[in-house]
Point group: C2
Chain length 387, copies 2
């Protein structure tokens, strides 16, 4: 048989999904692995989808999305993200944040272009680069997981097409400061680059940290692609409803590419999204309070267990480094942990080339499971005489 | 600003969508343009989606789709398409037939590979080829829109990776015969190729024509990718629910690619799909009876209006050639028709390089609109003194 796609053969199945599959074989498994909140979409969102289904709105929606939803998204970007330039024509509705990402990569890339990414980072960016025949340039994060902005500047070549950011970040929980964003914007402008900003965790912020959208800088309007989704904010990962803003020319290109690759988004779900984005998630303050408690508990336990821990201020992940004295790779650690104690943490090598000594822990689970999970990790470490 | 994606810049916005946009500006517009049936999804399907929403099934489904749905799809392929080899592990659920197609192109292709297509054909195949950096080899159909199988055989080079077919066909309505399928299968096997079979119109057959899935030939199991969707059979184009079968290795590659590019399919909709595929569309006999009437009416009117008409036996399209005496391209014809009489037909050049003298007419509209539309075309031709 003739050879299949090299790019796909060479990409790895998501370590997260692999772990999850291991875990579901055990009846008492605890997952610190999955990138979704522990709440589901609110009834007022689901009810609008139900209404649309009852009204038989099951034929094609426009490839760009329902005009009303696009307008509501534009208003959301204007009001919540201070992106005053965004109009309906700058918005496309997508099959989740993942398709929004795909559309950004598709429209910006020609084979051989280069893309710059702080590492560790979300795995999809790494494989999308290979699917679009981009050269991926990983710039290691600083010790505290801050982006190395000087390193990014120095990595730029004439072939660099765009920088990809994700703040608040999956997997590190790092949140760009205003000063860092100022500097990044300067780098992008000075080098005539594009910037793709994945903001799906924008609402998950702690300790008075704030979210800054790079597209809120006027001079960045033409060159920033901003993507977001209902998934994390509304506990709606399974609705696959995302959106992206960009300049009008790029949106036109996304429309074409979208027509031929997915032909639009589930029609009834778009009515739920209108309601969701108009009202926001009213439970967010309580959710954040609860997640902050989980975050602080996880930090405390990881320090007690002698991990090298960096406090995260965003998302719902924490990415401790293994104690160098343990002399274990993250892959070995997480494999043995899941086998012996049925606790799944994602090994750091699932997030790029510079995190083989760390784990990603999602603390978006119940307090009871969080406590039990850390207790099992403690027993695991003690049994191995590591602490 | 640096250059954007050549492949997307060079692709055209769908002529169908463009026409539709022109048409919605007129209050009395009649569309013969849209590729969707004139019925919506049955209540028994929508009710299952509603139930899932009420049960808050709004978190991630597995990237391959719900196991139960995959099993039901495998049974459907076994029972309805005589593809006895298909098991759950050979099935992936997709965001409509369009994403199923994208996954086929993504997994089979390396840049520079060649793909063979009978022309005219569905536009997405043409642009997907360019997005995946394939060389597209269009083999013109015979006078009666049959595939030129000898022409296909002669177009094969060492770089040919796969043949793409769509029977019943959009836009011609052509249906492969058993004899033609036998020959195609022989060509694929003799040349160690893959075959992608888009079967979304399988249920729309007239005059006792039958649908033959190439993957029903045992020796084709390993090398045929078969895609289908709820869209046409269930009037559910807006639910974006498709599925694909292939050998296990390819499904594994599709899972990876899908994880990084869309991360699965709307979760509640998958429960509707289970019900849909288990029960089938009980209205299909009446729908086909009604569509056959529309088909025969359209044929009669087109002949009266002196189009060069080939009888279609599948799908819900008819693709007449313009009378050579009129000396008009299909683009000029359809543009003037929509402007002067507010009737939209898709110009043939939207379906490849060999159909600039034809129109695609979708007869999946009400009898009243069909009659009025043809009356307007008649007045249009008479006003121009063409008939």
């Amino acid at each position: 048989m003739k050879p299949l796609s090299d790019a796909i053969l060479n990409s790895q199945k998501s370590a997260i999904r692999k772990l999850f599959e291991l875990l579901i074989k055990s009846s008492d498994g605890i997952s610190f692995g999955i990138g979704q909140p522990d709440f589901t979409s609110p009834d007022f969102v689901n009810d609008e989808i139900i209404k649309a289904l009852k009204e038989h709105k099951t034929q094609y929606a426009p490839a760009l999305g329902l005009p009303t939803l696009r307008r509501v998204v534009a208003q959301k970007f204007q009001n919540e993200n201070n992106m005053k330039w965004v109009e309906t024509e700058n918005v496309m509705i997508t099959n989740g944040g993942s398709q929004a990402l795909q559309l950004c990569f598709a429209t910006l890339s020609n084979p051989g272009d280069e893309m710059i990414l702080s590492s560790p980072n979300f795995l999809s960016y790494i494989y999308l680069a290979s699917y679009y025949h981009l050269k991926l340039v990983e710039v290691p994060r600083l010790e505290n997981y801050a982006p190395d902005l000087e390193g990014i500047r120095q990595s730029i070549t004439p072939k660099t097409k765009f920088i990809m950011i994700n703040s608040p970040n999956n997997p590190t929980g790092y949140v760009y400061s205003k000063k860092q964003m100022d500097k990044l914007v300067q780098i992008v402008l000075e080098n005539d680059l594009y910037l793709v900003s994945d903001e799906v965790y924008e609402k998950f912020l702690y300790n008075d940290h704030i979210h800054i959208s790079p597209a809120s800088y006027d001079e960045m309007a033409e060159r920033t692609l901003t993507l977001n989704a209902l998934s994390k904010t509304f506990g709606a990962t399974g609705l696959r409803l995302g959106y992206v803003s960009a300049n009008k020319k790029i949106i036109g290109m996304m429309e074409k590419y979208g027509q031929y690759t997915t032909a639009g988004v589930n029609h009834p779900t778009q009515y739920g999204a209108i309601e969701a984005l108009m009202k926001g998630n009213p439970d967010m303050p309580q959710i954040l309070q609860s997640y902050n408690k989980k975050r602080l508990f996880s930090l405390k336990r990881l320090k007690e267990l002698q991990f090298d821990t960096i406090e995260p201020f965003g998302a719902f992940y924490i990415m401790p480094r293994l104690n160098p004295k343990w002399d274990m790779t993250s892959e070995v650690f997480s494999n043995e942990l899941v086998k012996e104690k049925h606790v799944a943490c994602v090994p750091g090598n699932g997030f790029g080339s510079y995190s083989n000594n760390s784990l990603r822990i999602s603390y978006a689970t119940s307090d009871e499971l969080l406590e039990e999970g850390f207790n099992r990790i403690e027993r695991f470490l003690k049994k191995k005489s590591l602490i």
